[in-house]
């Protein structure tokens, strides 16, 4: 069942790379068909998903390389299933939104399919080493995607991305090696690994390795410096994949391997994590306000929104974990829409400078529909009720408040700041008088609008009916919450 | 201590002194010809030590091969290429010399200490074998058969290698003319630096 999600894109990538397919547009069609197939399969899996089962479903197991404890074991649960769907959707969007006349299309599309397979694999892997393989598998495709099809400083951005991510993979691998060895299991199977019986210091060291490793990927504030460069320099579709999908691997890993494998130690590091998350939120919002480049602004806003996930994961209550997963999905959708629209604005208007752009709302000469959708996306990102962002953030805040009241309050204030920079963004770009010199932007074609429509509809729908997202997550969260009552950590805090 | 032992010790002392003096001479003399001749002295002293150890065949082989062949070859090489070259004295050369001397003395001291301090696992008193030749032959055809045979391959290869390095090359142009490839692809050494390449052809030119 699940292997389909790996095999189809990988075989598709091989076909795209090696078989002559003619021009770029046909390649894109073919790749889009494959992505559609994958997504359709995910939808089918969603319908088959047993909502009463909190464990792993559709499991597959194949003993692969015994001596190093590597097995090909896949499985999904309420944590990975929504992210899998997000991955499928965003890959489709990324392919569809790629420019038709892109250079070296065969390499490009095969890399995107490989990225899809890699992320799916990492989300499904039930073996720590298998996870690392898929996690590192992302490295080279993304390096090339940024390095070849990126903007002006792409070489610098790509190398920075590569080094940071390689270090991240290394730390995760080191932590897993330590985990598997110290917990005296002969293999890396997720289910057989447990941290019970490990000393507190050992657990803390391992958890720290994991936190730093995944923290680079998310990225958290002191480790984020690769991120604005990578997001800004990459093409819109790469940025969608980077921000919407790849960064989720970091938070996914944090919850899956940090929270779930270290339930005892987690509550010790949780206050620190919440603090870092809060700092990320505030820093992201502040930095976004200061930006003059709309893409960079969106990139920094992403740091802020990933911070919520961290706070929620740190709290570890049933509701907050639910919120964390929901926020992952909602952030992926909204960020993808933002990057996509910013990409269209850049393509049509030829600039991303906040000072140059204005009056895009002009119904005749501007980009009215794009601006309208941009406003919508901004609202979603700022957490306006009725959109998916609100639903997710609300659950996050509600779930974490009892545990970390002060960080959550700060986060709520910071989400107000989110509104500030989106107002700045929208006010400068969409409203005002359209300059006559730069007038008459090329029209946005209908085909170019489709990805934005799809994303917008999804955001709206999930915002109005969040239950459709939450029902798949719910069974999972009941099983993992390290802190079901939500008061434990707070009590520990006050006792100290 | 009987007479035989006394003679042995005395001759060992003489041989050892000779060998060390000659070896120092090899290293210290400025003129390379002196060094070469003194090297012969070292080899002869070593063969003397072999005789003291009852290894008459090895001693003879030592003189034949090292003095007769290797050393003579070295002398030939020196005399054929005897180009007088005046080397500029390097400033501060004595520092290097002193450092070398220090290292050598230190190594010598270390090895001497090692020789004296180590409890050597000596076999029972050795009686002189009737004929070392037979003994060596037995070894060659029993437990050292494989190295002995492998040595023949080694020598074959060394010979072939020596011939290859020494032989004169065939003239490239004939070969190139007879083949259908353009001249430059045949005779260009692939990774030679630019300045060494004769400027033929245009496909390989670079600034």
């Amino acid at each position: 069942m699940l292997s389909v999600l790996l095999l189809v894109p990988i075989i598709g990538a091989a076909i795209v790379a090696f078989l002559p397919m003619g021009e770029s547009k046909r390649l894109r069609q073919f790749t889009a068909i494959i992505a559609t197939l994958v997504f359709a399969w995910i939808v089918y899996l969603l319908t088959q998903f047993d909502l009463s089962n909190s464990g792993f479903q559709f499991s597959e197991y194949l003993s692969w390389v015994q001596p190093i404890g590597l097995s090909y074991s896949l499985g999904v649960d309420g944590l990975s299933m929504p992210l899998l769907a997000l991955n499928g959707l965003l890959t489709w969007i990324a392919i569809y939104s790629s420019r038709g006349d892109i250079e070296r299309p065969r390499l490009y599309y095969s890399l995107i399919l490989l990225v899809n397979a890699g992320v799916s694999g990492a989300l499904m892997a039930q073996n720590l080493l298998l996870f690392v393989i898929f996690y590192e598998l992302e490295l080279i495709p993304f390096y090339l995607l940024i390095g070849i099809w990126g903007g002006k400083k792409r070489g610098y951005a790509a190398t920075k991305f590569l080094l940071y991510t390689a270090v991240s993979g290394l730390l995760v691998l080191a932590a897993f090696l330590g985990l598997a060895f110290l917990s005296a299991t002969p293999n890396f199977d997720y289910n057989s690994i447990t941290t019970e019986g490990l000393g507190l210091t050992t657990q803390l060291v391992l958890l720290t390795l994991l936190l730093v490793g995944f923290g680079i990927k998310i990225p958290l504030v002191p480790l984020h410096t690769w991120m604005p460069d990578a997001y800004v320099e990459s093409s819109p579709s790469t940025a969608i994949l980077l921000g919407g999908v790849l960064a989720k691997l970091g938070t996914y890993g944090l919850v899956r391997f940090g929270l779930q494998l270290f339930p005892e130690t987690w509550s010790l590091v949780a206050p620190g994590l919440a603090a870092i998350g809060t700092v990320s939120v505030v820093y992201g919002a502040m930095a976004a306000i200061a930006q003059k480049d709309i893409k960079r602004m969106v990139a920094y806003s992403s740091i802020g929104h990933m911070g919520y996930i961290l706070v929620a994961a740190a709290a570890g209550t049933e509701l907050s974990v639910l919120g964390a997963v929901a926020q992952m999905v909602s952030h992926g959708l909204i960020l993808a829409l933002l990057f996509y629209l910013v990409g269209i604005v850049e393509q049509k208007a030829g600039t991303r400078e906040l000072d140059v752009l204005n009056g895009l709302m002009n119904p005749i000469r501007g980009l009215p529909l794009t601006s309208a959708l941009l406003i919508m996306a901004g609202m979603g990102s700022a957490g306006i009720p009725g959109l998916v962002g609100f639903a997710a953030e609300f659950i996050v805040f509600q779930g974490s408040f009892t545990t970390f009241p002060i960080p959550v309050l700060v986060c709520i204030i910071a989400s107000g700041l989110t509104a500030v920079y989106f107002v700045i963004l929208l006010n400068r770009t969409c409203f005002g008088k359209l300059d006559n010199e730069t007038a008459y932007y090329p029209k946005v074609l209908l085909t170019e609008r489709i990805p934005a429509f799809v994303l917008t509809v999804t955001i709206l729908f999930l915002g109005l009916q969040p239950n459709w997202m939450i029902r798949w997550i719910k069974p999972y969260t009941t099983s993992v919450a390290v802190n079901p009552t939500g008061l434990q950590i707070a009590q520990v805090e006050t006792q100290k | 201590m009987n007479l035989a032992e006394g003679v042995q010790i005395v001759s060992f002392g003489i041989l050892a002194a000779l060998m060390i003096a000659a070896a120092l001479g090899v290293v210290l003399f400025e003129k390379i010809v002196y060094s070469a001749f003194l090297l012969g002295g070292v080899f002869i002293s070593i063969s003397g030590l072999y005789i003291l150890l009852n290894a008459d065949f090895v001693a003879a082989a030592q003189i034949l091969i090292y003095v007769g062949a290797v050393n003579v070859l070295i002398l030939f090489a020196i005399m054929l290429v005897n180009k007088e070259e005046v080397f500029k004295p390097i400033s501060g050369r004595w520092i290097r010399k002193a450092a070398t001397a220090l290292v050598c003395v230190g190594l010598f001291a270390l090895l001497s200490t090692m020789v004296l301090a180590t409890p050597w696992n000596l076999a029972a008193p050795i009686t002189a074998p009737e004929s070392t030749l037979i003994l060596i032959g037995k070894h060659f055809f029993s437990d050292y058969l494989l190295p002995f045979e492998l040595a023949s391959v080694l020598l074959l290869m060394a010979m072939i290698g020596a011939i290859i390095i020494a032989r004169r090359d065939f003239i490239p142009d004939i070969e190139a003319a007879s083949s259908d490839q353009p001249l430059q692809t045949v005779w260009r050494l692939p990774e030679r630096p630019r300045e060494l390449t004769p400027t033929q052809g245009s496909s390989n030119q670079r600034k």
Binding site: - | D143, M157, P190, L196
Partner: protein, 524 residues
């Protein structure tokens, strides 16, 4: 020495059948070249390849032979040696594939090149199984002298001459040091040359803890480290690699190195079993230095061959982790890694050869924009380099994981962490080449690549090159994913070798020593 009639059974000469095939191939190559003349160059390489493959097949037949000791215990044909002999023979096979065109284009004769290469292979194979000090030394010298000859083979190239001279001088010195150390061993054991006998004599006598043994150990390790070019015995490597013909470099970096590791395992584990704590310590230092220096200096290289030279030093450091671990998993991870290293490194060298044949340069900057002119070369070189850097899902990743995993199990936390860090460094310089080839825009293409002639596979000698590239490409890509048989093979070769199993008895002591000496104690 009894010369009774049962000597034939004692000889057990069948154990060296694979080597015998190689010897016959050498003679065949030489004689055919003598009789037929120049025109034989068209098919002689295939004779040699057939001979080497037959030798590998013969090795396969010898797998798990009941009686592994041969030639009155002078040679040990156990599974461990079979694994290493197979690696050496295979590396020679691939080297011949890549050298046909190269040697022809450099205007030297092919038959002698192949003969000398086969002799080097023979030396390496014998070295992997040698169980006797004399045998070890003669095999070592066969390998070394053939390597010197190969290094200076393109004698009209001054850099090749320089490389050969450097290699010869340093190599001779290291051989002398090795011989000195080994002769001390002979003395300490009371006149034994057989490794097992030496081990017993040292264990029974009181020479076990002496200064003499320590010096013998240091000298022997110096000789071995020269062969595997471990820092600080690596100084010859970059110059020799840069100057000598590229196929030779390929062989030196894989075949010669594998033989050196085989020697290290057998000599140190057997004869120096009494001082295993000490040599574990020395090798830990060598591994640390090799990993750091090899990988860091490789960052600064501009020539492809020099970069690969330094990277091979770093790779040797990784392999040493498995050796220091000293467990079953450790040794088999070495074998596994060397097997994979064979394909990825030789693949990279084959690509470098193809590029230099086409353009006459090996500067990294000259590779820029290559993807437009030669996609196959770009793909193969990228994958081989990424695999060397340890990027999944290529074979190198699995090899490294196995090394690190076994090292970690043996408690070498510091070494493994250092290995992880330095492999990230190595990713950086490997990716630099990939970036040059793949990422550069068409307008950034180097002039060399602009003039890149179309590859004509139909030219004589190009077909083998193509086969070499494709084989190593496929092996590098698939050997990781389908690595289970290789793992089993490597494991069995260790488990079935009594040499390593008997050495286990001394392991607990050694391990205790290691966890103290490793720079990062267990976190509890």
């Amino acid at each position: 020495m009894d010369f009774s009639s049962n000597i034939a059974t004692q000889l057990n000469a069948g154990a060296i059948l694979p080597e015998g095939i190689v010897v016959v191939t050498i003679l065949l190559v030489l004689i055919c070249d003598l009789i037929v003349g120049k025109s034989s160059a068209r098919w002689l390489p295939y004779v040699a390849i057939a001979g080497l493959l037959a030798s590998v097949a013969a090795l396969w037949l010898k797998w798990d032979a009941t009686e592994s000791l041969a030639f009155l215990q002078g040679f040990n044909g156990d599974d461990l040696s079979i694994a290493f002999r197979g690696i050496v023979a295979l590396s020679a096979t691939v080297t011949i594939l890549m050298s046909v065109r190269y040697v022809e284009q450099s205007g030297t004769s092919l038959a002698e090149f192949i003969a000398i290469l086969l002799a080097a292979t023979l030396g390496g194979m014998f070295l992997s199984g040698a169980n006797d000090l004399v045998m070890i030394f003669v095999a070592l010298e066969t390998l070394s002298i053939s390597s010197y000859l190969l290094t200076g083979y393109t004698k009209r190239d001054p850099r090749s001459n320089e490389a050969a001279l450097k290699y010869l001088l340093i190599g001779a010195a290291s051989s002398a040091i090795f011989l000195y150390g080994v002769s001390l061993l002979y003395g300490l054991s009371g006149g034994q040359t057989n490794l097992d006998a030496i081990a017993t004599a040292l264990a029974n006598g009181d020479g076990g803890e002496s200064l003499g043994l320590a010096i013998a150990l240091v000298f022997a390790i110096a000789g071995i480290s020269f062969k595997i070019s471990a820092v600080p015995f690596h100084q010859w490597t970059p110059d020799v690699y840069e100057g000598s013909p590229t196929p030779v470099v390929a062989f030196l970096s894989v075949g010669s190195k594998a033989a050196g590791f085989a020697l290290a395992i057998r000599l140190l584990v057997t004869a120096f079993g009494a001082v295993s704590e000490e040599w574990h310590f020395i090798f830990t230092a060598l591994a640390i230095l090799s990993m750091i220096l090899g990988n860091v200096v490789a960052l600064a290289q501009t020539s492809m061959k020099r970069m690969l030279a330094y990277s091979s030093i770093g790779q040797a450091g990784f392999v040493m982790i498995g050796f220091i671990a000293g467990t079953d998993a450790g040794y088999s991870s070495m074998i596994f890694y060397l097997l994979i290293y064979l394909f990825m490194n030789l693949g990279a060298f084959t690509c470098v050869i193809l590029f230099s044949l086409q353009t006459g340069t090996d500067q990294i900057s000259d590779y820029s924009g290559l993807y437009q002119k030669d996609p196959l070369l770009t793909l193969a070189l990228s994958i081989c380099l990424l695999s060397l850097g340890g990027i999944p899902p290529f074979a190198g990743f699995f090899g490294k994981i196995y090394l690190f995993w076994s090292g970690w199990q043996a408690g070498l936390y510091g070494l493994v962490l250092l290995g992880l860090v330095t492999s990230v460094v190595s990713i950086y310089y490997y990716i630099r080449v990939v970036k040059m080839m793949v990422v550069k825009e068409p307008q950034e293409m180097s002039e060399t690549v602009e003039n890149y002639p179309e590859v004509r596979w139909s030219l004589p000698g190009m077909r083998p090159l193509q086969v070499g590239i494709v084989v190593s490409l496929v092996a590098t890509t698939l050997a990781g994913i389908l690595s289970n048989p290789l793992f089993t093979f490597a494991n069995n070769s260790v488990i079935n070798s009594p040499v390593l199993q008997s050495a286990k008895l001394t392991q607990p002591i050694a391990k205790a020593g290691i966890s103290e000496t490793s720079d990062r104690p267990i976190v509890q």
